[in-house]
Symmetry: C2
Subunit: 465 residues, 2 copies
Amino acid sequence: MTASDTITASGLDAAIADLKNLYGDRIQTGRSIREQHAHTTTPIPNQPPDAVVFPQTTEEVAETVRICARNAIPVIPFGTGTSLEGQVNAPNGGISLDFSRMNRVLSINSEDLDCVVEPGITREDLNHALRDQGLFFPVDPGANASIGGMAATRASGTNAVRYGTMKDNILGLTAVLADGRIVKTGTRARKTSAGYDITRLLIGAEGTLGIITGITLRLHGIPEKISAATCSFPDVHSACRSVTTAIQMGLPIARIELLNALQVQACNAYSKLDLPPTPLLLLEFHGTEASVAEQAETFGEVASEFGGSAFAWTSSTEERNRLWKARHDAYFSVLPLRPGARPIATDVCVPVSRLADCVTEAEREADKLGFPAPIVGHVGDGNFHFSLLVMPDDPAEYARARDFIGWLNDLAISMEGTCTGEHGIGQGKQPYLRRELGDTVDMMIAIKKALDPQNILNPGKIFSL
Amino acid sequence: MTASDTITASGLDAAIADLKNLYGDRIQTGRSIREQHAHTTTPIPNQPPDAVVFPQTTEEVAETVRICARNAIPVIPFGTGTSLEGQVNAPNGGISLDFSRMNRVLSINSEDLDCVVEPGITREDLNHALRDQGLFFPVDPGANASIGGMAATRASGTNAVRYGTMKDNILGLTAVLADGRIVKTGTRARKTSAGYDITRLLIGAEGTLGIITGITLRLHGIPEKISAATCSFPDVHSACRSVTTAIQMGLPIARIELLNALQVQACNAYSKLDLPPTPLLLLEFHGTEASVAEQAETFGEVASEFGGSAFAWTSSTEERNRLWKARHDAYFSVLPLRPGARPIATDVCVPVSRLADCVTEAEREADKLGFPAPIVGHVGDGNFHFSLLVMPDDPAEYARARDFIGWLNDLAISMEGTCTGEHGIGQGKQPYLRRELGDTVDMMIAIKKALDPQNILNPGKIFSL
């Protein structure tokens, strides 16, 4: 018996009655709020939950899961709703847990460079809380996502090349299991070999194995010096080759972002910049005054070998923030390229040695699509995204976009890469998971069935049982 | 039905007959070789397997597991036998898989800073193979262990403070499951969010969920410059405090090892050194010529604030190797402190802010033991080891050592640390796992039962089902 098969009106009514007792006015069932708590960021259909609750404590989450478990009702955790593959949808209905009221920093241990937070805090609010202590949390997926959602989807983003992804920056989790038990998966020790790595099993599990209610994060000292640089290239191949070379030299660059020519033009227009309208790398260097200068100089030499021009670096905070604001606004900047269109993001990641070929081949294929498809990429990791600007009312365009995504995912897999560098599987990427990992998926399913036999924890995500 | 309960003479005979067909003269059943393939490094009893096989391919491992699965016979992977908590023991008998003939480097992708190896290669042989390409694999647990064993026990060691542990330096695994299926858990992409992190689930699972037969490792460029430093302190508290301060400042020191006064004296005697007989930090800096000098200078200033003296740094390769050879020989150096004794290693790891207190309190308690107990520690991670020099024929000493280990593990757990920083759980640490992680252990057991329902993969390790 699984929630996907057997959710019943009587079970749902019983669960909602119990939840009303628990939550009072912190449970909502209006259509509009339910739709806001389902998928909204891409053309994946919006599948609303039956109710939205706003827990304030781990114990409330546990009681919610116990109520839902008794009635075989799905439970779907919700952070900020910025996921891109349908992770917050409720294909079988159920209860959305909105973590916006569990957004506290519980402790900052500056001596240990760690902190304990609730899952609803956003990364910007967290970094605001850390700034006074000279600390920051480096993972930056672009969107101002919640830390819980970032953990659940194993997010990464612009800083991952230097600081790693969520999996590298979490010491332990508090989580509620499918039977309502509360577990702590780690300690504040910086390393451990105490049994199975349940912390990293829950990171990226998209809420399907347990609901994250507390997170112990690794922090970093704000670097003494941060500088930014831009460098233009005649083509993406040259840009990628310069990145690959810098990575191979072990240059500890903090951020290396690629924008293709179309994306640069979009950013120029949207953010009132004046960058040359050719492929661009946007870099950030962290370190001491001396090491930042050394890194920038070395990268400048590498770039010029590959035809890079207009290399410009700055340690002005204002100028740097302006550039990175433009990068963070890339999502919005592409919208005017085709008014009315909705972007669909691809997310392949390949070994860096294959990056230049992968981007070049994909850009050529994208040229045939008949709609704009700008590129941004965390190219230090070999990860890049197209924004496919598809008209919402054109099924033929959707079909072409879907075919292109399939083609691109297969290309990445054939290059020993992955179909999803950082967006997760959710609903959207399920067809590709087995192509990439084969029978490893059966291990995942066996674990899911063992830990959530009723299939109530975010059912229909990663795989459909 | 589990292998632990039901291993039968007829099942064993049938399995060994089939294995003889498969392996020819690569199966051994002599008593001596069987004992060599069980636990030998500490006073945990030696529990030999019934036979030892020497597979040469992943497919042979898979066929071995299928034969053993048919007959409900345990399968115990064996690398170099250097684990410290009984990981290679065969408490219910079974077949030991000795990976010494699966020790090839299958590919080195210098452009991507990764390589693919078989599990039997030792870390020294691997680094020898990498050196020509200017690359190295940083994880260094001291012993010349096999990469497969290091993956299975989530090993770390001296370089972890800068380069991370095995979990941070593996991109993907090939593994044989309990039913003999072969899976690949990852790609060569540097990051992924493709479903559950099965790679990291198998790292540290001590062979209980799958048998690792191939490993894709992250590599690093050999730094342009490496320098070493030593610094003496009046007491371990001051030494630890200087480490904590350096970590908090974000100094990217590659190695930070603590030796307490007794350990320094042992190293002086064994390795013919002339270090002041007081607590010592041994450090290594990696980087460019300029950054190495900057790091050393900054650390020297920090150390002097905490009473550090005789700070000496060298970029002479010969001098550096001599110091690190002494550190690696620490295990042997303590033996002359009490001829005839056998060392038992502890392995707690605490948040760095608690390190000075933890080491100081533990050293005081150890003074009451009545036998020598020198300390070495990877203190940049908050991890340190006593060598408890116990006489093999003195049950009262063993009892005191056991009580001390229990006391120390509880102390570390009370300081939000772990009972096992890098040695794993195996047989020896099982009583402490639940104290540290509570019901999280039930999640582990549920996963174990789901993936290995017959309990044939290294049974009796991590937990006894």
